[in-house]
Amino acid sequence: MINNLTVSDSPHIHKQASISRIMWTVVISLIPAGIAGVIIFGWDALWVTLTTVVAAVLTELILGIWTKKKITILDGSAVITGILLAFNLPSGVPLWLPMVGAVFSIAIGKQVFGGLGQNIFNPALVGRVFLMASWPKYMTTFTQPFSYDAITSATPLAMLKAGKIMEHISYLDLFLGKHAGCIGEVCILALLIGAALLLIKGYISWHIPATYIFTTAVCTYIFGAAQLFRGDWLFHILSGGLILGAFFMATDYVATPLTAKGQLIFGMGCGLLTAVIRIWGGYPEGVAYAILMMNGATPFIDRYTKCRIYGSR
């Protein structure tokens, strides 16, 4: 009798998902936003993105060789950091800026902690706040969309912060990305397509993005205008880096809580901090800072939302 019983170790049901596969799928999900960025901001966007990615990969490669550790560039995480950092930059930055940023993101944001899986903070965001603090002028000079002559313009959030009411920008414009902003953050449509791919495949869960966006909406609705309960929450959701941050950076596996309850807290915290900075802070946009602060609080959140171990009290 042919023995149809195979004896093996667990896992017995295998989903084919490995770190590399997940990472490269995320890269694919970011492509629509990248294409949109190039359409809206021109070839500059492409050069910035390519420079950042190459710099990130090279940094990880060189550090890996120098410290005689495993070469990890093929797992795709350096590529993701490069792309996400590029998406957080204006298209008009001089090319040395994303290079320095990428080196900082990988070297300080990731490798100093011991590499992938051990970073406390999202590396791309670490790079972004470093660049923001170091060269604020370059990081806040945005070009007008579809103007290949590099005419500068202000982002919708910056105009809101300065008190100028946006009359000629519609919600559709915001949704399609027809305004000044960072390369990957403006086209909400493209970002949502990518996010849908990740949600369908189950690589990210709805908890963090949903709570993040919802909390920001609620806070900006209540406090976002001179009178209570008159805030333009739809404007806030569609502007700035919120969609990019909520779906692609606040969902970083390593730097965010493990349990569902923890993730809900994380999302709410991000939303609250983002809204507070946008409404009362000096900067027009607070997504990067909010996520980083919550990254810092994640070890704490994890500690207090641990699952009850079976059998213990």
Binding site: A133, S134, P136
Partner: protein, 197 residues
């Protein structure tokens, strides 16, 4: 004499208060924004360290053990007040840029630490050279950190532009930049220490 030179030299490298003993970090990071500030603070701190080490060493046999810490603090505070007043009188600009970190020399771990660990147990000559060495080591560490920060953060050192067309990296003039510089420097010194072993 050779003994005394050894006491002096150890404060500079082997037992450098900033990089090896990790003492007195509060003012180190705060004033290292410019080399001028660093030198000013270094000199002030060395003066306080020398003065207090000498006095404490002189009267070490007369201080009752139970209240020795408050006694040290009073002695150190006196020297700090002298320093404060002199600075306010002779270089008010330096006093303004150093701000609250001048009175804070009182609680600078280096000063109190050396008093507790050395001056109360050693004679006048050794305490003098120990204080001098530690003060110099502290000043050199300050100058190193501030040179890096001032150059990267503003493209200048002591007000002179070194490299034309250099885009200053503003973050190094900020507190976060200071923490970053010292973190990386400590890592670098660890690397050098490992390599030597």
């Amino acid at each position: 004499m050779k003994d005394l030179i050894k006491e002096f030299a150890k404060g500079i490298i082997k037992e450098n208060p900033t990089f090896v003993l990790a003492l007195g970090l509060c003012p180190t990071l705060a004033v290292s924004v410019s080399v001028a500030n660093a030198m000013g603070m270094g000199i002030a701190a060395t003066f306080v360290l020398l003065g207090s080490s000498l006095i404490i060493s002189l009267i070490r046999d007369f201080i009752p053990d139970k209240i020795r810490i408050p006694c040290y603090i009073v002695i150190i505070a006196t020297f700090v007040t002298i320093t404060e007043l002199c600075m306010k009188a002779y270089s008010p600009a330096l006093d303004r840029s150093l701000g609250i970190y001048v009175p804070l020399i009182v609680v600078n771990c280096i000063v109190l630490g050396r008093a507790e660990a050395f001056a109360c147990k050693n004679n006048l000559a050794r305490s003098f050279f120990d204080g001098l060495g530690m003060g110099l080591g502290f000043t050199l560490a300050l100058i190193l950190i501030s040179a890096i920060r001032e150059f990267l953060g503003s493209g200048q050192i002591l007000g002179h532009t070194l490299v034309k067309g250099f885009e200053p990296v503003f973050v190094f003039g900020m507190p976060s930049g200071a923490l970053l510089v010292i973190g990386l420097l400590l890592g670098l010194f660890n690397l050098l220490k490992d390599k030597r072993v």
